[in-house]
């Protein structure tokens, strides 16, 4: 027994050691970003080396926080991210349940079409999408920021796969109790799918929060900026050399909500990655 566990422990240690080494390796750029955000721009112009912020300054963060427009940008981002997440969850779970459990004409064809959507790069539909929104007069509205992002093939796929894995007996038991299809969906299937919904919700929220290109060309009025577009707009022209500290502070500032979200929900995110479409 002991002989059998020996190599196991050794391999565990090796894996742990390698994981730690990779984790440190991947953390270094983040630590570097934080360190640079705490250094004066003039110092960074001479040298960007070093993970310790000396000389230390908070002026880069002060530059962000003292802008009256920053809370507005944060609010726009929050409204867009929360509404997009809620709507994606509703649509994907409904569609996923339908594809997994309901019998309707062209179900397979439609499912294949949805999956085909996975293969269409976002950039390919960018110009038609922009033109459609212009024709509808929707640019510079929340609708334009949220609506085009609601069709999430990966979400539908994820939920379909999840619902397919739920034993049919559970539904049949509910059906015997005269539960309607909607009741079965709401009372049986949805509570079971909380882990999948949490994962999809988190990924959608992160995607919405980090989105840059679409808000950039749709929300063209400064009072409609989201936090990513807003923070980018305040950079000077040669920000990558003359205002590096400010750029890094913007990056840290904009990612804080996501980092907090990750810390709170990391169990679900890890589970979600493990559950991903590969399985």
């Amino acid at each position: 027994m002991a002989a059998g566990r020996g190599p196991g422990r050794l391999s565990d240690r090796l894996i742990l050691g390698a994981t730690t080494a990779f984790a440190v390796l991947w953390l270094i750029p983040i630590v570097w970003v934080v360190a640079m955000s705490l250094k004066p721009n003039a110092v960074l112009m001479r040298s960007t080396a070093g993970l310790i912020p000396a000389p230390f300054t908070l002026e880069n963060y002060a530059g962000i926080v003292e802008r009256a427009t920053v809370p507005t940008w944060l609010m726009h981002s929050l409204i867009v991210a929360v509404s997009m997440t809620a709507l994606v969850l509703i649509l994907s779970s409904l569609a996923g349940y339908a594809f997994a459990r309901l019998d309707f004409p062209f179900r397979r064809t439609l499912f294949v079409l949805v999956l085909a959507g996975l293969m269409v790069p976002e950039q390919a539909v960018f110009i038609p999408l922009h033109t459609i929104m212009s024709t509808l007069g929707l640019h510079n509205t929340y609708t334009a920021l949220v609506l085009p992002r609601l069709a999430v093939p990966i979400g539908v796929f994820l939920m379909t796969q999840f619902f397919r894995a739920v034993p049919k007996e559970l539904e049949e038991a509910a059906a015997l109790d005269h539960a309607s299809r909607l009741t079965i969906f709401l009372k049986v299937m949805l509570p079971l799918s909380v882990p999948a919904l949490t994962t999809l919700g988190l990924f959608t929220f992160i995607y919405a929060w980090n989105d840059y290109l679409w808000p950039l060309v749709s929300a063209t009025q400064a009072d409609r900026y989201t936090v990513t577009v807003g923070l980018a707009s305040i950079q000077s022209n040669f920000a990558f050399s003359e205002g590096l500290g400010a750029v890094m502070a913007s990056a840290v500032f904009a990612s804080l909500p996501i980092v907090l979200l990750f810390l709170v929900f990391q169990r679900f995110i890890v589970a979600g990655v493990a559950m991903g479409p590969g399985k």
Binding site: G63, S134, G137, H139, S218, S236, N237, F238
Partner: protein, 442 residues
């Protein structure tokens, strides 16, 4: 075009009427679209441009000053956009309907907008508003012109310069008795002086962005082409002269600079700046836009660079010439803009032109000869050291897709020192790539 001219004349007539009856005028809001960053916290309440510093500070204060002083009752609503995404967003406004009244534009991008009818022609407007186009240096006016029509108010020239560490040059024995740096006047001298510098100091002669991001060496190579009397793009913007004997001479020189170890090929833009400021290279090839920044670093006493000087890009062949681009102000075409709004936009542009000197305090060269010749310009730090750059400045002819052309060139050109491609092969590839883009333009 005639229709546009008529519209702009009507707009100007409106402006003059409004100016005359200022008291009765309604408040007009000018939507002002620009990059240059945001500095509202520092300069939001500064109404005198002379009290501001840096690109962002000065343009913010200029807008404030116009809003405070103009007799039209016009206000300025500034919208600041990320530099990297600026043209994507400006293009998008034509579709979203929030077209700005005044916008900043690079000369190299102007043909893309002008030739599609997206800009208001300004020639007649200038004449009637009293903006003297003869006062603009030729390269700047050429930058603002497309198809024979002026579409923009040129506001600066930003050109390549050599920024020099005089202490290292002295160590290398490359300083004239009058204190000016000894700089090359031929390709042979460049290599010889570079070798001498390297031997005596053990450091790189020249720092330059070399990592295929900014194309700094392509701008140098283009300058050398003009110096040999060759235009990389023909005046009509339809043919390219890249794979030529002159092109090869210039490219061979660039290759030799890397082969001799005079330039560090591993540096990106920020890395090249760090090398120069830390005293690891004698000269950095960079634009006019960094003069004040390097001057501040040298004066701070904290950088290894202590004794800083600026020089025009050396003339290595017959004709003095240097690559330049230009910031300019345009009025994007907007059928829904009222005559009052157009008038206010024109008045704002005229105000910016009247205060051109303030902008030249950024380090950019003024495009107005009267400003360049003025004693106040001469009193700015280092400006006299590179004043000639304004007259040597050359811009690519107004061809569409100039940015694409530039990107196509530097990808292949950088291969000379990054992957060891022979200059002749690199030039052939550049010629083919650029011709492909030019064919699309027709």
């Amino acid at each position: 075009m005639q229709h546009d001219r008529l519209l702009s004349r009507l707009a100007l007539a409106g402006a003059l009427t409004l100016t005359a009856g200022a008291g009765a005028a309604q408040a007009v809001e000018i939507s002002f679209f620009r990059f240059f960053g945001e500095c509202q916290a520092e300069y939001g309440s500064v109404n005198t441009a002379a009290e501001a510093n840096g690109e962002c500070g000065i343009i913010t204060a200029l807008a404030n000053q116009f809003a405070a002083e103009n007799t039209l009752g016009a206000t300025v609503a500034t919208q600041i956009v990320d530099w990297g995404a600026y043209y994507d967003l400006l293009t998008a406004t034509y579709s979203t309907g929030s077209i700005p009244d005044v916008a900043v534009m690079h000369g190299s991008v102007l043909p893309n907008f002008a030739e599609r009818g997206l800009l208001m022609p300004l020639g007649p407007v200038f004449a009637e508003a009293g903006i003297d186009t003869a006062d603009f240096v030729p390269a700047a006016l050429a930058n603002a012109t497309s198809g024979g029509e002026v579409y923009a108010l040129p506001y600066d020239l930003h050109a390549l310069l050599w920024h020099v560490n005089m202490d290292l040059m002295a160590e290398a024995g490359l300083v004239n008795p009058d204190g000016t740096p000894i700089l090359p006047t031929s390709p042979e001298e460049l290599i010889a002086q570079g070798r001498q510098f390297k031997e005596r100091t053990g450091k790189f002669y020249l720092a330059s962005e070399s990592q295929a991001a900014e194309g700094m060496m392509v701008r140098f190579w283009q300058s050398l082409m003009w110096q040999q009397g060759v235009d990389v793009l023909s005046a009509d913007g339809k043919t390219a002269s890249i794979d030529t004997p002159e092109g090869l001479t210039a490219a061979d020189l660039v290759k030799a600079m890397y082969d001799e170890g005079l330039v560090n090929p591993a540096l990106d833009y920020a890395g090249a700046e760090q090398a120069f400021l830390n005293g690891e290279a004698g000269i950095i090839m960079n634009g006019t836009w960094v003069v004040d920044s390097y001057d501040t670093q040298a004066r701070s006493g904290e950088a290894a660079l202590k004794n800083y000087r600026v020089a025009n890009l050396p003339t290595l062949f017959g004709t003095p010439a240097v690559w330049a681009d230009s910031h300019m102000w345009v009025i994007p075409a907007d059928p829904s803009r009222s005559p009052e709004e157009t008038a206010a936009a024109v008045a704002f542009i005229k105000f910016l032109n009247d205060n051109s000197f303030q902008w030249s305090r950024t380090g950019h060269l003024s495009v107005r000869q009267s400003v360049i010749d003025s004693p106040e310009f001469a009193s700015l730090p280092h400006r006299t050291e590179y004043a000639e750059t304004a007259t040597r400045a050359r811009a690519l002819p107004p061809a569409q897709n100039q940015r694409a052309i530039f990107n196509a060139m530097f990808t292949d050109f950088n291969a000379i020192w990054l992957t060891g491609t022979e200059p002749a092969d690199a030039l052939a590839a550049m010629q083919a790539s650029v011709e492909q883009i030019l064919r699309r333009n027709r």
